[in-house]
């Protein structure tokens, strides 16, 4: 009773709704897939609630449950080595990405770096390109017949400049194409930091870099770790890159899981691997929480300070050069993709055999509807994730809802195909028949991409001091109103960063789309995928270019819009 009373406030209801949402659309579906690892057959949980027959069927399934799958997975040594390989890859990628991102993020958020706008725009591009396209682009550049290899060899080099079919190759592709996942949230963290602290440090004799290392950087650490978790998970669960680039002796856990499920329809095995992956994510998550418990510094205080841009020419110049170098690789890859999109064919030679615009013509005659669908679906998912993420980060930071925090991190690590199957299995029949609707697609997108938003907003939220919110509540606002009118707007940098990530990744999402998109809602990513399917790499490339242009245009519009409003 008391509990009810305490939680039946506006914000309490919101919390309940969010929990219900996640339990319904994430936990139960995943649970049902997990159960499959015992029964080896699809299970209809909700159906069992309304139909005796289904219930009996389900019960009989459970009576035949075995733990064979577990035995076979745990007795198979390859999975253990796959796990170790995956961990090695993800840690390495996370660390390199953090190192690469810190200077660029600082440059964008806090300096008057030359070409800032251009660099910012270029930094979103790597996200837009589907991983297999970027992996192929990498081959076209660095492969045996790649143009970079060609240049390198004609300059007297031997063999590869970089071997794309190697651990290094995978690391490089992931670093260069995943770094924006960390970059944008980090930019947000730097944007909300309190400048007077840096001034204090400078005043005590620190040079600007020392100030950065000892004050700016440590203050950004909570936000940064929050995003490192994203990189870790994205790298850990990416299979697009390794499936194309992994040398045969490098087995990775996701790839194994993907093979189990996609190649052999072995849901049981895949479910177990997924559980292992979630456990790993849980461990990393715990690690992060454990080491940084109580270190939410709250730099943005109730004594407002103005953010001042660092205009040290040397610093901003070199940051600009560094950022330029980092975006150069994805940029060249994009250029390669672009060349591919206007090529008739592109074989052994360093340049395409001929040029054509037919691929683009095809797109504009056949796929305009897909583009429209993509935008609508992505906007839907975006709005849903903004709302959920704002509240989730509020609960996580202010009310210490670690459970919610973890729950919104899990989708990062669950392979898309597993999550899609889980959703179909759960929502394919009455009482909750949602498959085939745009609604479930939007929900699935939101849940799957929400972590990017949550990580980013949690980071920003942590830098907002509690006294500001207390003041709002003290002035009579309910916690809900305070969250919406004070905390929300202050989190804008974080929300903006998250929005870029969510919007783009939803637009390029394939694994769930293939499984769940109804024909009338087929988005762009599905069209690209189909082109890949029919080996139409040139059209796929053209589509990717269209996607990139589309996102850049939308981003420019959003920028202009938001600058006017805020």
């Amino acid at each position: 009773m008391k509990w009810l009373k305490r939680n039946f406030t506006g914000i309490g209801i919101v919390k309940l709704v969010i929990y219900a949402f996640f339990i319904l659309f994430l936990i139960i579906p995943l649970l049902s897939v997990f159960l499959v690892s015992f029964t080896n057959e699809p299970i209809n949980l909700f159906g069992s609630l309304i139909s005796m027959e289904t219930l009996q069927h389900t019960v009989s399934q459970f009576t035949h449950a075995t733990v064979d799958n577990f035995k076979s997975v745990f007795s198979n040594g390859t999975y253990f080595s796959a796990l170790l390989n995956s961990l090695r890859l993800s840690f390495l990628v996370s660390i390199i990405v953090l190192i690469v991102c810190v200077p660029i993020a600082y440059g964008i958020a806090r300096t008057k770096m030359p070409f800032k706008k251009t660099i910012s725009a270029l930094c979103t591009i790597p996200l837009i390109v589907p991983t297999f396209i970027s992996a192929y682009a990498f081959i076209i550049m660095f492969g045996r017949a790649g143009w970079v290899t060609y240049l390198y060899n004609s300059l007297g080099g031997e063999g590869f400049l970089i071997d794309p079919y190697s651990f290094t190759g995978i690391v490089l592709v992931q670093v260069f194409f995943f770094f924006p996942y960390a970059l944008w949230p980090m930019v947000a963290t730097f944007k909300v930091s309190d400048v007077s602290l840096e001034e204090a440090s400078r005043n005590m004799g620190s040079k600007s870099w020392l100030t950065f290392v000892t004050v700016t950087f440590p203050l950004a650490i909570p936000g940064m770790l929050s995003t490192a978790l994203v990189i870790f998970a994205v790298s850990f669960s990416d299979f697009g890159t390794p499936i194309i680039l992994a040398p045969t002796d490098l087995n990775l856990l996701v790839v194994e899981a993907y093979r189990e499920i996609a190649g052999f329809f072995n849901w049981g095995g895949a479910a177990i691997l997924t559980v292992i992956m979630i456990a790993v994510a849980g461990f990393v998550f715990w690690l992060q929480n454990h080491f940084f418990k109580g270190k939410d510094y709250g730099a943005l205080s109730g004594k407002p300070k103005q953010v001042k841009m660092n205009d040290n020419k040397l610093l901003s110049g070199s940051l600009s050069v560094f950022a330029g170098f980092v975006v150069l690789v994805p940029l060249l890859a994009m250029l390669t993709v672009f060349m591919q999109s206007i090529a008739t064919t592109w074989g052994v030679d360093p340049l395409p055999a001929g040029y054509t615009l037919n691929h683009y013509k095809d797109i504009f005659t056949n796929s305009l509807g897909n583009i429209q669908n993509s935008i609508i679906l992505a906007l839907g998912a975006l709005v849903l994730s903004i709302i959920i993420a704002t509240f989730v980060s509020y609960f996580v930071v202010r009310q210490n809802s670690t459970g919610l925090d973890f729950m919104t991190t899990v989708p990062l690590i669950v392979p898309g195909i597993a999550f899609g199957i889980a959703l179909i299995q759960t929502f394919n029949t009455a009482p909750l028949q949602l498959t085939g609707t745009a609604a479930i697609l939007i929900i699935a997108y939101s849940i799957r991409r929400l972590p990017y938003m949550v990580r980013s907003t949690v980071g920003t939220m942590k830098s907002i001091k509690g006294d500001i919110e207390e003041a709002a509540v003290n002035l009579g606002a309910s916690t809900l109103t305070a969250a919406v009118t004070v905390i929300g707007p202050l989190m804008l940098p974080g929300i903006a960063a998250g929005s870029i990530l969510v919007f783009i990744t939803v637009i390029k999402e394939t694994s769930i789309t293939i499984l769940m998109a109804p024909a009338e809602w087929a988005p762009m990513s599905l069209a690209i995928f189909q082109n890949i399917l029919r080996a139409e790499y040139y059209s796929a490339a053209a589509m990717s270019i269209v996607l990139v242009v589309l996102v850049l245009v939308l981003q420019a519009i959003a920028n202009r819009f938001s600058r006017k409003e805020l």
Partner: protein
């Protein structure tokens, strides 16, 4: 559910048919359009990879959404689907009198769970700028020639059905011990072993590989796009039909059956031929240099039951035995 409403199908209009097809989307679309043109019934096409579609059908078991399923890179996924209890038996009139196995090729399921619509040949794609026709390997053993070291790609048997087929057929012919020895050597020849069945052929087209293992139509499709690839049918090699089948408890079974009839008819077979597939209907001429007649002496005898029994084991052993 919406089963109660809707007509019997077959007449003008009628209840739409849902087709699940992992084959080239444009091809499937053409098939659907042709059917609609002929019978006036709308055919909704759902494309995705074979794996995705099978998983989808498994997940949808409580309330299946598809009526017909066409294609899957050969019969193996269909054999598996029989066990998964997601397809049901139906053989069109025109295929009633076919033997189950003709010329060593299994063309339909013994209990009628699927029927072949076209032929796939496993062979070698090669980049014509890098390799001349004479040089190109003619037998599976030729692949071990040292001159191909680091120049071959083949799909990964741990992931791709096409590749597992290659492994199994070799083992059936030469025994397992010789087989493992062979594949260890083949693996050492390869510069990449992608997961996807079509990956190696793509690699050959890009010049990443000189020789690639894959199905005939993959190479011919690239060739038609202007890429410098061609295809060799090895001396003895697995040849498979690519089937079409009726989904169990689909929303429109009558429509599904009619569509299967259509698939074996001349109109559909012509479309397949136009997409460089080898039609199963001998009356329709192939667009590629290959035809049923020309390839049947290359076919190895495939004991599909043996394949079904040993599939999982061999795949697991591949993961541990081949380093």
């Amino acid at each position: 559910g919406e089963e109660s409403s809707g007509g019997e199908g077959g007449k003008e209009g009628g209840k739409p048919i849902t087709l699940y097809s992992p084959e080239t989307p444009e091809l499937s679309k053409e098939l659907a359009a042709k059917y609609e043109e002929l019978y006036g019934t709308k055919v909704n096409v759902n494309y995705a990879g074979t794996n995705v579609l099978v998983n989808k059908m498994m997940a949808e078991k409580g309330n299946p959404q598809a009526d017909v399923w066409y294609g899957g890179g050969g019969i193996l996924p269909f054999e598996a689907a029989v066990d998964k209890d997601i397809i049901t038996s139906y053989i069109p009139e025109s295929a009633k009198d076919w033997e189950v196995v003709e010329n060593g090729i299994k063309v339909k399921h013994q209990d009628g769970y699927y029927v072949g619509a076209e032929m796939f040949v496993l062979g070698f794609a090669y980049n014509t700028e890098l390799v001349s026709e004479e040089e190109a390997p003619k037998t599976w053993e030729d692949l071990l020639d040292p001159k191909w070291k680091g120049k071959i790609q083949f799909p990964n048997p741990a992931a791709s059905g096409t590749a597992t087929l290659m492994v199994l057929s070799y083992m059936m012919q030469h025994g397992e011990e010789v087989g493992w020895e062979y594949f260890q050597k083949l693996k050492d020849q390869a510069n990449s072993i992608p997961d996807s069945g079509s990956g190696p052929t793509k690699g050959a087209a890009m010049g990443e590989a000189h020789i690639a293992v894959g199905f005939d139509f993959m190479a011919y499709e690239h060739q038609a796009n202007g890429e410098t690839v061609d295809f060799i049918v090895p001396e003895k090699t697995p040849i498979l039909v690519n089937p079409v089948t009726l989904v169990k408890d689909g929303p429109n079974p009558e429509g599904g059956k009619k569509f299967m009839d259509f698939m074996l008819g001349k109109d559909a077979q012509q479309i397949l031929a136009d997409w460089y597939h080898i039609p199963i209907n001998p009356e329709v001429e192939s667009k590629t240099p290959l035809s049923l007649d020309k390839i049947k002496e290359h076919a190895v005898d495939l004991d599909i039951d043996w394949v079904n029994e040993n599939y999982d084991r061999i795949r697991d052993e591949w993961k541990t035995k081949i380093q």
